[in-house]
């Protein structure tokens, strides 16, 4: 029992890191109103990063497959949803709350659907032949990333593409001297909802039990009579769809997107999964929140060091825990 409680304490300790970062930032920033704005921005960014990173982390945990082309799903999700929003411009511009929301929902659904299909294609055509061969896996998925980025360039062109936003997500809430962008609050809420759903699926369903067991010991799950490779396609598709949704939300957040956005975000996503530890969504959430908060605080305090600060954070955490904060046992 003591072993259990100490571990729980330790896990709680690690989970408190984002809070610690927020507190330190509060002292350094000084102005509470700026701090609140930055914290909300950091949490929103963190949840979007979580969506993009969770699939990558689970896919690695389950099959030891690392997809360097994962960023393609993010970019495609962004562009597909932006195109749907552009196509539904009438609904988006309409003076009806419901039509606005419908357009947004349709764009997200399109991104998710695209992610599912592209994920299925990617897994069966690109990844399947190179299971268990890390070198070729990295090379092939890099190749796929190049092709995907070029495809986006061919379809949407290289100029920044502007993304529509429903009117009800524009603007900010002003509470005292604190202003909170509505879209950020929305992105955060949506991200939390997805996390809770994922958490419940993983911890309350039989499929989730199989996934968690598979992350720990794939061979044993197979020896118990379950086809992990078939389960894996499902997880891969889900991960791709989440990345596409993350991309779609990111597109609305940035309002201007380029075909390189996926590759640029990929670095941050990698840092997230390395910090969090591969294979567990709790770890990924932790990493995502840390990186999101850190980026916004440092971006405010010392703008030029924003990306470097994440790198420093990663190095520090790796020195402390070489497998990340909360890796799935491997």
């Amino acid at each position: 029992m003591t072993a259990l409680t100490t571990t729980l304490g330790r896990a709680g300790g690690v989970n408190l890191l984002p809070l610690a970062v927020a507190l330190i930032a509060f002292v350094l920033i000084g102005a509470p109103s700026s701090w609140v704005t930055l914290t909300v921005a950091g949490l929103a960014m963190g949840m979007m990063l979580f969506l993009m990173a969770s699939g990558l982390s689970l896919v690695f945990g389950l099959m030891d497959v690392l997809n360097f082309g994962h960023s393609a799903f993010v970019s495609f999700g962004a562009f597909v949803s932006a195109s749907v929003l552009a196509g539904l411009g009438g609904w988006l511009a309409a003076d009806s709350w419901a039509l606005n929301a419908l357009a947004l929902a349709a764009s997200y659904l399109a991104a998710i659907l695209f992610g599912l299909i592209a994920g299925w294609f990617f897994e069966t055509v690109i990844i399947r032949p190179v299971y268990r061969d890390h070198l070729r896996q990295i090379l092939i998925t890099i190749g796929a990333m190049i092709v995907a980025e070029q495809t986006i360039l061919a379809f949407w062109g290289g100029t920044p593409y502007s993304v529509g936003r429903p009117a009800f997500l524009e603007g900010s809430w002003i509470i005292g001297d604190v202003s909170i962008e509505i879209y950020r609050a929305f992105a955060f809420a949506l991200g939390v909802a997805v996390f809770v759903m994922l958490y419940l699926v993983l911890n309350r369903t039989r499929i989730g039990l199989l996934i968690r067991a598979g992350v720990e010991d794939r061979e044993m799950v197979e020896a118990l009579g379950f086809r992990v490779d078939r389960l894996f396609i499902g997880v891969f598709m889900l991960g791709s769809a989440l990345a596409a949704l993350g991309g779609a939300m990111w597109a609305g957040y940035e309002t201007l997107i380029t075909p390189h956005m996926g590759a640029d975000l990929m670095i941050v996503v990698f840092i997230v999964v390395i910090i969090g530890g591969l294979g567990s969504i709790e770890g990924t959430l932790l990493g995502a929140l840390l990186v999101g908060l850190m980026s916004n605080y440092v971006g405010f305090l010392a703008p030029k060091l924003a990306l470097a600060s994440n790198m420093i954070l990663m190095v520090a955490i790796l020195l402390w825990r070489p497998n990340g904060l909360r890796p799935a046992v491997k």
Partner: protein, 354 residues
Amino acid sequence: MQNTGTLIVKTSVILIFALLLFAPFLFQDVRSLEVAARICIFIVLVASFDLLIGYTGIVSFAHTMFFGFGAYGAAILLKTMGPGWTPVILGALAGVGVSLVFAIAIGLLSLRVKAIFFAMITLAAASVVLVLASQLSQITGGEDGIIYKAPDLFKPATKLLTDADGKVVRLWGVRLNGKLAAYYFVFFCALALFLVMLRFVGSPFGTVLKAIRENEARAEAIGYRVVAYRTAVFCLSATIASLAGTVYAVWLKYTGPDTALSFAIMIDILLMVVIGGMGTMWGAVIGAVLMILAQYYLRDLMGAASEAMTGIPLLPELLAPDRWLFWLGIIFILLVYFFPKGIAGTAMAWGEKA
């Protein structure tokens, strides 16, 4: 051990070096000399990357970072100290020094964990350096990069040999001027670095690396300290990449994120080493030559093809010269599936069977 395939590969490589040696006389235009110099540099860069990926089976995305350290080292010093050999040498040393610090830090931090961690961490490190280089504009010139002068010997106005009238001597129609000296500086530096690597992979050290690549657990069991070996080869590879960067900086007289640090260069290196053939050294030469020729000349062809296809949906878009990476990506994927040994490796294996 020599067989037909190996013989063909080695003959091609020697032929390539011979062509590069006489390039200024064979192809007498400015663009060709640019291409030849670029080929020389990339042969070294790709071969040093092959030390990692082909000989030890580790994938690093930080290779351009080291290349950039060497280039920026020379560039910054040539800019601040003015043209001369001292800044070049000091720049080279500084580049190598910084590269070694980074290589050791990254190596010790991540080579002991999974190969995939290493790939991700090098990618993250390289992007941070890239972003820093474009942001710290007081030192690096930011996005615009740095323009500077090369040592006096390499000025186009420098006369290497003069005739009785004091005019520069022409040999087979080529002026023996500073531009020529600069090219041969690049060529011989590249040749020397390549020979060093060739010697290295043939040494007992190279044999150990192969043993580690074949079976890491076994090599460990036999008593090789895998992490130490990997860190050592990572350092060597970084040093050579950094030196190549310095040489390129001297040749270009310009250094910026696009020429020395960008992720596009990393992708190029990766494509070259895989297309040429990993783990052979010869493959690096073949891959670099083919890719750079394609970069310079295939685009023209694609432009013509794209115009011929106007009216057909999407095809002109995909055949546009800017989309050449699309096709390269597909070729790359197919190669990794069907010919993972690349051109050189496949030719050599084919020769063994025949």
